[in-house]
């Protein structure tokens, strides 16, 4: 027995990817699979809330109560069917619109000779950094009508054009405002795909006699299809699970979606029903992914990674250039500049919606506590609560960015080195799983799980570590993907040569793998930073006064209806995101490590 054991151990030691696999499987089952199982478990048992509805129920006992309520009762229409249809409609609407916008922009910036490409490309993704509900706020500002009484928005009151309900609230504005947020996401994916298409494939079409349009349809489009499919699925899943905007714009016309219902239920501590709905969302997301894989993903490895990518001549715009430039500039003004101006203005207005000069004040920024104004909240720049929240948010952003990048890289290493095995596929799939979890349900589960000590792990309830943990896990889908692709870029021979020279694993990782993946590292870190700092639904249940974050403060101010503080702190948040963006770009530019082109 002993020699066999020693043999196994020495084999294990020489294959760090195996050790990592086992490690990841254990950690993932704990952090991802178990919560999922607990969620299911909760839906099948009586919870405290249920005892109020059914006095003879026994807490913890097995029951189909929740499923009956959600799927087969009078409540089904309002709990499930209408919100589900609304969510699906929103999902499709947003995704289609975002993809159209994203494709147009991707085409313009990758394939045409439009000037100032670098500037536009940086700026065009800014809406993704703005929390989507901010765009919704601006929409309300402009388009609200008298439905809720009081004065109408700018368009109706200043321009005198009556705004119908369907334009001011509900489906249309929800889709438009969300699409204006998510198009940046689809833009990045589609332009990435367009860039990696081997231009020779299109040239071969040309020399074979195909006209430009035919080349586009028969060659380019099918090659971009996998990227289109992925971006469709990802955008669809995310927009279906968004809470903020539908809550803001849907409520006045009773346009409920699954996330708003889930939130309402969790708020009243009805976790049983809430988790059933969350499971519905998860099933929908998984189905979307499976459909995408079946239809498109089979021939996923289309994009020829021959390193040359797209280098053919850009399409000349000629006479349509000024038109397109104008379109771009107007678009950016409307979607970025205008909301920012409105936001900033509103933070200086004592009485909201009153634009007269006499109403302007700097109180909300630098004022001291005045009990008559905003319940005595100090101006933002003097407010210790806000400052500490800012510190926490930045901390959270940095820690999660760095840790996620490392973990993502490690996952990438594990998956790529074990490529093809069931272990690799499992790890990859499980690392992606958190994507389909509605943030708020995920948080509710973690709350329950970590309220007690679990073996060696103390109860993390109320700690900053729990927030960091959940943010890291929620970001795993993204960081594992970028980690995998980063490692795939590194030719195996580079590490193998180090192995033959007897260099141990940690050193190899540090001196070879890490430096070579630096470029993807930085852009991944930036994205994680932005996502973490913008996170709300995931953390709202978990923060305590000491661990307050900027987003939760915004939410709290919103509950207290202190609009100037809401908008002001939002601006602070945006400022931090933009600064981070600039800083990381500078650092990554300085770092000279690019992926080495082999062959």
């Amino acid at each position: 027995m002993k020699p066999r054991y020693r043999f196994l151990m020495s084999r294990l030691r020489s294959k760090p990817e195996l050790i990592l696999s086992i490690l990841f499987i254990i950690v993932f089952s704990f952090l991802i699979i178990v919560p999922f199982l607990r969620m299911i478990y909760t839906t099948f048992t009586y919870q405290g809330y249920d005892l109020r509805l059914k006095r003879d129920a026994v807490e913890g006992a097995f029951t189909l109560f929740h499923y009956m309520r959600v799927f087969a009762s009078d409540l089904t229409e309002s709990f499930l069917i209408k919100p589900l249809l609304h969510s699906l409609a929103v999902g499709f609407g947003v995704t289609v619109l975002a993809m159209i916008l994203g494709s147009i922009f991707a085409w313009i910036f990758v394939r045409t000779d439009i000037p100032h490409k670098k500037f536009f490309q940086t700026v065009i993704t800014i809406p993704y950094m703005i929390p989507s509900w901010v765009i919704a706020l601006v929409w309300v500002l402009f388009f609200q009508n008298n439905r809720i009484g009081g004065t109408a928005g700018i368009v109706q009151s200043l321009l005198g054009i009556p705004i119908p309900d369907w334009l001011a609230y509900g489906y249309v504005p929800i889709v438009i405002t969300l699409a204006l947020h998510y198009y940046a996401y689809t833009f990045l994916m589609i332009s990435g795909a367009l860039r990696t298409i081997d231009s020779e494939l299109e040239e071969a079409g040309a020399v074979a006699g195909l006209q430009r349009s035919k080349v586009l349809i028969k060659i380019t489009f099918p090659l971009v299809l996998p990227a289109l499919g992925s971006s469709f699925v990802l955008t669809f899943t995310r927009s279906m699970g968004t809470f903020g905007t539908p809550a803001l714009l849907g409520l006045p016309v009773r346009f409920f979606t699954l996330p708003t219902q889930i939130y309402a239920m969790i708020n009243s501590r009805n976790v049983g029903d809430a988790f059933v709905l969350a499971l519905v969302l998860i099933v929908l997301a998984v189905t979307a992914i499976l459909i995408n894989n079946k239809m498109i993903g089979v021939r996923k490895s289309f994009v020829t990674m021959k390193g040359k990518g797209f280098r053919a001549n850009p399409m000349k715009l000629g006479t349509s250039k000024p038109l397109i430039m104008t379109f771009l500039v107007v678009f950016l003004l409307l979607v970025i500049v205008l909301p920012l101006i409105m936001l900033t203005l509103s933070t200086f207005m004592l009485i909201p919606d009153n634009y007269s000069a006499g109403n302007m004040t700097s109180h909300f920024w630098i004022g001291d506590s005045d009990p008559m104004i905003s319940s005595g909240q100090k101006g933002i720049l003097k407010n210790e609560g806000i400052m500490s929240a800012m510190f926490n948010s930045i901390r959270l952003g940095i820690i999660s960015a760095v840790l996620n990048a490392f973990i993502g890289l490690l996952i990438g290493y594990t998956v790529v080195k074990n490529r093809g095995t069931k272990i690799a596929k499992t790890i990859e799939a499980v690392a992606f799983a958190p994507y389909v979890f509605p943030g708020i349900a995920f948080a509710a589960i973690y709350l329950g799980m970590f309220s007690q000590p679990l073996g060696p792990i103390p109860a993390l309830y109320g700690t900053f570590s729990l927030i960091v943990l959940i943010v890291i896990v929620k970001n795993l889908p993204f960081s594992s993907r970028s980690g995998i692709s980063a490692i795939m870029q590194i030719d195996a021979s580079l590490e193998e040569s180090a192995v033959t020279q007897g260099i141990p694993w940690l050193k190899r990782f540090r001196l070879i793998i890490l430096p070579l993946s630096k470029s993807g590292f930085f852009s991944g870190m930036l994205l994680t930073f932005i996502t973490s700092v913008r996170e709300l639904s995931l953390v709202i249940l978990l923060v305590t006064p000491k661990t307050e974050l900027l987003t939760t403060m915004i939410f709290a101010y919103k509950t207290q209806e202190q609009t100037q503080h809401v908008n002001g702190v939002t601006l602070v948040l945006l400022f931090i995101i933009i600064v981070a963006n600039v800083l990381i770009r500078l650092v990554s530019l300085k770092s000279k490590y690019k992926t080495i082109d082999i062959g």
Binding site: I26, R52, I351, P371, L541
Partner: protein, 415 residues
Amino acid sequence: MKKYLVVTLLVFLMLVPLAASGAQEEKEESGYPGEMDAWAREAKLGIYEGEQDWDEIIEKAKEEGEVIVYSASSRMSAVGEAFSKVYPEITVTAYDLGSVKTFEKTISEQEAGIYNADIITTGGSGNFIYDLINKNRAVNFVPSMYKDMIPEEYSEPALVRILEAIVLFYNTELHDAPPIDNIWELTEEHYRGKIVIKDPLQSLSNLMGIVAIAGHPEEMAAAYKRHFNEEITLSPGVKDAGFEFIYRLLHNDLIISDSGGTVSGASGKKGQSGLPPVSINTFTYLRYNNTKEYINGLLYPLDPFDGIIFPTYTAIARQAPHPNASKLFTAFLLGDPEITLDTVIPQPYTEGKALEMLQGLAPYYEMGSKSPRDNIATPAGGEAWEEMNMWFVDPEDDWYLGPEVQDFWMQEAAK
């Protein structure tokens, strides 16, 4: 072989957390779990309260030196500062959590064996009584010098520190007098789309108001008869007149908003035309008449109720680390015991002499609220409270009817 190792580990790990649900605690004779019993004895709380010796309490409070408050209100920090001015030896840390999270934090922490909190104060009658008091997660404490000033309904089973009310507002620019005298008129055609309310699913207080309506079916039925001169016929699937009112309101295009400010603006903004909306709101939003130039008026008398009173309770958390400081703080919340109905309390209430007198009551003592003490005057501007015929939220209804009403609301609101 490796695979099996891994799989077994997996299964084991899955079972551990799943199985880890709180074990039942053993209770003492007192009804308190063991740990709590010892604490209650030492702290002289609950059934061990006995005679309150305030000299001893104050002295011990100063030794304890700290009070930690879980509150649903952002004004509690101001109270903390005022308290520390009077008792410099005691620091106050107030956590503004909002009502939902106050409950959740308290309960989650206690289940994890963490007993950090001293004072729990929030609204949410059903939750407070049934989930905290009745489950021994907090004990009621009424400082002895106030016992005669506070009616029993405001001190048992838990102490109320401030009362607020859900009322209706109407637009005084276009109406000289309240436009309706019976609440059932709101279910009529001309009020379609003209009633605004804050989302009860997001606001516990508004929910309590709706639940209270559902909890008075006979009164609602009688009011119906008085208005329509016939017996009420219930819509299909509706349980009673209380629910029927909610049903008809929702189907009369009731407008739901997520912001109380917007709601009060719906009825209160100047310059409207036609039939202005009626809003259902918290009494204290009347203050926007001063700060935002709204022109809301209180809509009463109204059949069958002018308003619905809901309390904010306060209690001492189980195994509070600073029980005596908590007792002292509780007293502070109720204001100087010397105040009588004749005492003139100057405005602004949050400063100077008024602050000295009102103590912990000061930030909450505003137009549209009322102290549970029968010897403190109603705050200026809200005197109507005294003549308004208002219902009081019944914790039992809130607890047991609450979910049913929520279900019903969700069901009908989505149609």
